[in-house]
Amino acid sequence: MIVAEQKPLPEIRRMISPYERVLILGCGTCMTVCDAGGEREVSFLHNALRVAQSKGGNEAHHFLESTLKRQCEPEFLEMLVDKVGEVDVILSLGCGIGVQAIAERFPDTPVLPGVNTSFMGISSEQGVWDERCAACGDCRLEDTAGICPVTRCTKGILNGPCAGTKNGKCEANKDMDCAWVLIYKRLERLGQLEKMRRYYPMRNFRAIPRPKRLVRTPVALGEDDG
């Protein structure tokens, strides 16, 4: 799941200030799940902007609300065609992908990012999200007991913990588990400590060149059944 955080209200107000008619556009998938841009947040932001406007602000915006199931699919964006004509700007509460999808689909309408897309992660408890994968394109989880050192170790190092680990926590943040302690403990539990003893060379940052593209090569008809 992609996790994001809504931008601070002042930043959003500054971004939309040149425009009169603003479409606040939510996204019904990841952004809903991470409480950053689902229908509720769209409506909350709308209300917040209106309070700002009524309480002393000099703005005079007109707002429109809408939430698509996913902003990152062209077919869903088609549903906006009529609305886009009525507004001066789209304030997208989708992740960075959504924002760019909109930019591609509506070349004449400015689009603004309403959230800071942060990472891919899991919800560890209600209202708490943790990064878990960096989409590095060269997955190491086999050797690290299913715990990603690239993402969860601040240094992303591959050959074991640095000396900064204390009480199982990371030197960068006392509330954050040291990934390598986790990996060590789990490997030990799985009886696979030899994986940690192995030397891992430097990562290949060209595993997939950026920007990455994934092409699923279709299996030619009939190929399977010989």
């Binding site: 002042p10 107000r13 019904g28 809903t32 689902g38 229908e39 509720r40 309070v51 939430t67």
Partner: protein
């Protein structure tokens, strides 16, 4: 009350009534068991909110003579109430009585206009007959009630003792019937239905009750000093004072036996003993009443049956035999079997036999009679084998209950209407789904346990002195607190927009009662029979996919807010302060009632059904529309739920962040929860108002300064 407040409520009422509703809630167990299918959940909730007039309207809408039920209904609803899985059932009957008395039921006038020419005759004026008359008049038919006795009411008049059902209550209902234009012929025993048809009646409803006492079938039963229960009660109720002597026995274990015994006490007998052939567990009488009878000094001997009566020297010498319980019989109760050689003798002055009654239908009625001398009918239409002749109540069921009789009367009215209008009987299609199934243990565990508040009773010594009503009515506080215990079964949350649902699992995680679950397809489900309608998930769902099942509850906060905003904008008092206050306990319980009362001009209260339902959006809207200060006031300790305030705090925090981001003081938005240290809402409110007043003044001055400097 301030104009804001009273205006509020009036519009509220009007609004509610005219509202088209597509109710997707489920039928709760109480309603499903009620023979009248009364919307108990609704009126209990209205009582909890202090909206007594509306509660009364709901009650009257579902029951032709609620005041009678309020006293003596056997309340099967309470037996099925799911709250008993948590602690004790809701005291539904007592709440109904409260709503009627405090809502001013006696003042309510019922009117009817004649719209049809077909006359209908009703034979018998018990609850079944009265109910049928009531509804037929409502439909616009000319109705005549024929009653053998001198007064109307059937068993309500001649059976049930006055200390349980005051006669003025019955009289008010009968007056209403007369006002509605029901023609009444007392002292008129109908012997032939043909006669009625000859008189021009197009349909007849036979509701002659079950007044013929069953015989014990033992030697000496006809001796002087032996009397049957129904006759005894009738005589007392019609003002006679039968001489009983000092030591009286009552045989039987039902309502009639109990009432007879307690009546005997009130007539001054020294000792009264009930002889019942099974044990206490099998007694058909209401356990609460058995309890009361024991308190009053009635003796009960269980597992005893009289076998012979001999009259000697002005006394009754009675031979009894002890019984033991054997295999269950057809009624599911264990069959009593005599214990051989356990006979014993006892002496009494009077013996009242109350082992049951059966209908006694005049042969000339020519209606088919079935088991237990009851009249046979088609249960769906209540029609007998004779064209145009319908029957219902005890005459059809055998001795049953008032509420069943009322339901039969109501059904008969509709079916007679169908019959007279030549319609295919509009059979009950069953609207909403009925809630089945118990609460899950994990849900039960999370529900706050709150003891049932019983309506007060007169002390036992005072009770037996006379025939005054023994049960008193709740006060506001007790009623509201009792009503708040209702679990609002089946009207809770549902995922209205499955396609919006992102399966984020928020509901599953936030539900205090562990209600939502993931089915095997990975779809989230909120089972209607478990949801407690707290609304937490609704306010938290990031996709806004969840709503309350009842359309009104769904829109409640928003509509209330709109309404307040409208009135507030008309009033132009500044600074404007808006408070979202828990409506439950508003009138009944000190704190909120206080808040409401002390609300000064400029303070507008948006009543909400538990502050857990106030969303962060609502708070911002209040500011947007011009509020200078906003507060959320919960009910603290009285809350039926745990931890409501934590949720509110979260949302308040979220809205406060916005306030500070746009340069408003975050303390313009506050939460008030009464607690031991913070028990005076008036004080708190004064403080808040002062604070907001200060901020307001400062902002006005700032504006002027700005204007000046231009």
């Amino acid at each position: 009350m301030y104009p804001s407040v009273s205006g509020n409520i009036q519009k509220y009422v009007v609004h509610r009534i005219g509202m088209p509703s597509r109710d997707r809630s489920f039928v709760p167990p109480c309603q499903a068991t009620c023979p009248l299918h009364m919307d108990i959940r609704e009126y209990v909730d209205l009582v909890a909110q202090g909206r007594i007039m509306e509660a009364l309207q709901v009650i009257r809408g579902g029951n032709p003579f609620p005041s009678i039920c309020a006293y003596i209904c056997t309340h099967p609803c309470e037996e099925s109430c799911r709250r008993s899985q948590v602690d004790k059932p809701i005291a539904i009957r007592a709440l109904k009585r409260f709503a009627l008395e405090f809502g001013g039921d006696r003042m309510i006038q019922v009117e009817a206009r004649t719209a049809h020419s077909e006359k209908v005759a009703i034979v018998g004026s018990g609850p079944a007959g009265m109910a049928c008359a009531y509804y037929l008049r409502n439909f616009g038919y000319p109705v005549t009630i024929f009653e053998a006795h001198s007064e109307l009411g059937g068993m309500l008049r001649v059976g049930i003792p006055r200390y349980r059902l005051p006669r003025d209550v019955l009289d008010v209902e009968i007056q209403r019937l007369t006002r509605m234009g029901v023609e009444i012929r007392t002292n008129t025993r109908v012997v032939s239905l043909d006669l009625l048809f000859d008189m021009g009646y197009k349909a007849v409803f036979v509701t002659i009750g079950a007044h013929q006492s069953l015989r014990m079938g033992i030697e000496g039963e006809d001796s002087p000093g032996v009397i049957d229960g129904a006759t005894f009660l009738r005589e007392v109720n019609l003002g006679l004072k039968p001489s009983l002597g000092d030591n009286v026995a009552v045989v039987g274990g039902g309502n009639v036996a109990l009432d007879a015994a307690r009546t005997v006490l009130r007539l001054g007998a020294r000792k009264v003993t009930i002889l019942y052939r099974r044990s206490q567990a099998e007694m058909p009488a209401d356990p609460a009443e058995v309890e009361q009878a024991l308190e009053e000094g009635v003796h009960i001997q269980f597992l005893v049956m009289p076998t012979r009566i001999k009259r000697q020297d002005g006394k009754l010498n009675m031979t009894c035999i002890r019984m033991e319980l054997g295999e269950p019989d057809a009624s599911g109760r264990r069959r009593p079997v005599p214990v051989e050689g356990s006979e014993f003798n006892e002496e009494f002055d009077t013996l009242i036999s109350a082992i049951g009654q059966a209908p006694q239908t005049p042969g000339d009625f020519r209606v088919r009679i079935g088991r237990g001398s009851t009249i046979q009918v088609d249960p769906a239409t209540l029609s007998t084998n004779r064209r145009g002749v319908f029957a219902g109540g005890d005459a059809v069921t055998g001795p049953a209950t008032v509420v069943e009789a009322l339901a039969a009367g109501r059904l008969a009215a509709s079916r007679i209407d169908d019959y007279l209008q030549h319609r295919y009987p509009s059979l009950d299609k069953g609207g909403r789904e009925t809630l089945v199934g118990d609460l899950l243990p994990e849900t039960v565990e999370m529900i706050r346990k709150i003891g049932r508040i019983e309506a007060p009773l007169l002390p036992a010594e005072a009770r037996i002195k006379e025939f005054e009503p023994i049960e008193l009515v709740y006060d506001w506080e007790a009623a509201v607190n009792e009503a708040r215990r209702c679990l609002r079964c089946g009207m809770g949350a549902e995922i209205l927009f499955q396609d919006k649902c992102a399966t984020c699992l928020t509901c599953l995680r936030v539900c205090p009662y562990h209600v939502p679950y993931l089915d095997t397809m990975g779809t989230i489900q909120i089972p209607a029979d478990q949801c407690q309608a707290c609304g937490v998930c609704i306010a938290e769902c990031p996709a806004k996919a969840i709503v309350l099942r009842k359309p009104y509850d769904r829109r409640h906060v928003t509509e209330e807010l709109d309404h307040v905003l409208k009135s507030a904008s008309e009033s132009k008092v500044s600074p404007l302060i808006i408070g979202f206050c828990c409506q439950y306990g508003l009138f009944g319980t000190g704190t909120l009632a206080n808040l409401w009362r002390v609300a000064k001009a400029g303070i507008w209260i948006v009543p909400v059904l538990c502050i857990a339902k106030v969303e962060a959006d609502h708070l911002l809207r209040a500011f947007e529309i011009g509020a200078e200060g906003v507060f959320v006031a919960g009910c603290g300790e009285q809350c039926a739920r745990e931890n409501t305030v934590a949720w509110v705090h979260n949302r308040v925090q979220k809205a406060r962040k916005v306030l500070s981001e746009i340069g408003l003081e975050p303390n313009r938005l506050q939460t008030y929860v009464p607690s031991a240290t913070n028990a005076y809402p008036a004080e708190w409110l004064d403080g808040f108002v002062e604070q907001i007043g200060g901020l307001y003044l400062a902002s006005v001055i700032m504006k002027e300064v700005k204007v000046d400097s231009r």
